[in-house]
Amino acid sequence: MIRIEDLTVAFGETEAVKHVNLELKPGEILGVVGESGSGKSVTALTLMGLISEEARITTGRILFDDVVLAEAGRPKDKALYRKYQGDRMSMIFQEPMTSLNPTWKVGRQVEETLRLHRDLSKEERRRQVLDAFTAVGLRDVEKVYGSYPHELSGGMRQRVMIAMAVILHPGLIVADEPTTALDVTIQNQIIELLRKINSEQKNTMLFITHDLNLARRICQRIAVMKDGRVVETGPTEEIFETPREAYTRRLIQAVPSRIKKTRKTENAVSPDKADNILEVRDLNVYYREGGNSLFAGKRKHCVVENATFDIKVGEILGLVGESGCGKTSLSKAILRMNKNIQGSIVCREPYPQMIFQDPYSSLNPVKTVGWLLKEPLRALGRLDPSREMTEADMEAAAYDMLRKVGMEESYFHRRPSQLSGGQRQRISIGQALITRPRLVIADEPVSALDVTMQAQIMELMLELQEELKLSYLFISHDINVIYRMSDRIMVMQRGRIVEIGDTEGVFRNPGQEYTKLLLKES
């Protein structure tokens, strides 16, 4: 049994974790749920003894089967931790690429754990590693054993990480966002695997995630963290059905369940061709191998095949599919950012805009918010003299857009580094919409955000869509987000559009095996 009693962890003056009490019963899976910065990872790293040297435990202690692992005022007992780490407790990290050594074959990395903690012959170690690989559902284990991390897919790497974590049958497994970097389909397989391991090995698990839905599916109990404190603990169903804290309720509501958006005016979608803002016919998109260099190969690689679809004026078309299925390539082709195409694209908006996934890289860091909002107008004025504006008009339009995206005027002179992720995404949306384009492509606009932020940004995008009569091509891997946003949905798999149709219809009656799989797994 693991007990964390009144734990406070401070970095200098700031307390990242404040008086946290957690208890893990043998064999249970406890979920720790919270937004980024809530202290959930710091708690886990402190428990594992992996927290950086700058952190100090200022109050409380950590107990592992009545042995005090760490305590306030006591320097870290490195020898004690070495005995426990790996052998009795182990950790699964979020990013399997960076937590595996890229220069070692994965088999050897897993074997290393055995070599350090068990006295076994070489053949025995190898056999146990191969067994562990089989147990975590890897196929062709001999080949995986001799592979380097970069030769494996994300899902396979995460399985290797899990094999490494469970090979010694530790009493405690800490999983820190183990599926966040993975696709939905792989995500589900990993969750299944963790549950299977838990029931077979009877380990105690601490499952850390920002996704309440995910926690619901695997955890028996959930602790909700906010600003370094545990605000609520209880059995999973109780947390979901009768949440005591307002914050927990907000988290639950923010989960994009299949709530249909409420739109004031239903568009009368006419079959008339003139009402299409975008028409794509038999589109093939290619990539040249080796990039743009003079010595780049001439070989082309087809990433989108025979795409044919329309977007009507005022319509939101949702595009769903796993990463690597060609969603982004398709959008880049529509925006003429990739000219290696065949087929026809007719776009009735001369300057379609795009909202990017990562709010941290889509705003120029040296410019102010005001400058960023005015720049599209300046550029448009130069391209199209009839739409040239005076400096004062641009200023007014920028302030107007700032209000529209729900931000105060005082942000006008700030730089992106002074904004949160959600605020950046608001500015990003404002920048895309300020020229009033009639078509906007949104590439995973909410995937990098916390759940509460996700809901707000989706609401904002719907409001603006209504106000400005926009059409969106809304791309996401999250079927719930797509359901909430779209009038029609389009499903892509390996560069092909496998299904396209009315949202309700597709959800109720999916025509393709692949669509059924996507729906079932979300």
Partner: protein
């Protein structure tokens, strides 16, 4: 200065700034006034040891070393600044174009910089000098040629890094013109990296100029430069050690001051 640029003062910056400011003050003062004429010889005062009249002594022609160092600092700083200005300017232009557009121009300019990098820099400067002849102007040109490749490479790699950034893709989508993307959208973002390399380049230019003057292919006598003074002093190291002391200290002072300043700026941005 822009707000994000100055985060907090640090010791490196303060000490470096003071040392550099003193050097520049001395250089500027030397243009208008020196205690003695830098070329006035005096046979009676040959190799005078440091005294109140001549704080750093006199040289083999009886010239006041303090006055010559004041002038020498000015010459050296002026030459180094111009070298960095010219090679940095060319570096930004060539680096921006090759980095952003790539293609044939990129290959040609990169192979050219490879060729320049293939020679030891002093040897290359020597070759240029032997073609152009000696003199202040030609020292600047030859050093600028030697220094261009490193600037081109730094700017180019930054432009390559940023040309596919989301915010640059987005600027292209808005229809922002190419020139504006290069110099308004991207350039301010590489300024911090570029600034540090300018600082390092400035130090290297001081050392290279001193080295060339030391070898006798730099600024010609009777103009005073720090390197030439050091080279002259070498022969009298045993009989008149103060001769080498002042110019040597001046070089150390300027280079150290600038190194600290650039380190300070780098830390402020980190």
């Amino acid at each position: 200065m822009k707000k994000h640029f100055v985060k907090k003062w640090n010791r490196y910056f303060i000490i470096g700034f003071i040392m550099t400011a003193v050097a520049i003050l001395i250089a500027v003062a030397g243009v208008f006034w020196t205690p003695y004429s830098t070329t006035a010889m005096s046979a009676s005062e040959k190799f005078a040891a440091p005294s109140l009249a001549h704080p750093f002594g006199t040289d083999n022609f009886g010239r006041d070393i303090l006055s010559r160092v004041m002038k020498g600092v000015g010459t050296t700083v002026l030459i180094s600044s111009l070298v960095v200005l010219i090679s940095g300017g060319i570096g930004i232009l060539a680096g921006a174009l090759t980095g952003y557009f790539g293609g044939i121009l990129d290959e040609v300019i990169m192979r050219f910089t490879d060729a320049v990098n293939g020679f030891p820099s002093i040897l290359l400067a020597l070759v240029v000098i032997s073609i152009l002849g000696t003199g202040r102007q030609n020292v600047i040109i030859s050093l600028a040629i030697v220094f261009v490749p490193s600037f081109v490479r730094i700017v180019r790699s930054e432009f390559i890094r940023l040309r596919d950034a989301d915010y640059i893709s987005r600027a292209r989508l808005m229809g922002v013109g190419r020139v504006r993307i290069l110099f308004v959208h991207i350039l301010p973002n590489i300024f911090s990296t570029f600034w540090v390399s300018v600082m390092i380049g400035f130090n290297n230019a001081i050392l290279a100029e001193s080295g060339m003057s030391y070898l006798g292919i730099g600024v010609q006598p009777p103009d005073a430069t720090l390197g030439k003074m050091l080279s002259d002093a070498q022969g009298y190291l045993m009989t008149a050690p103060w001769y080498a002391l002042a110019p040597g200290l001046a070089i150390v002072w300027i280079v150290l001051g600038f190194s600290l300043l650039s380190e300070g700026i780098r830390r402020m941005q980190a």
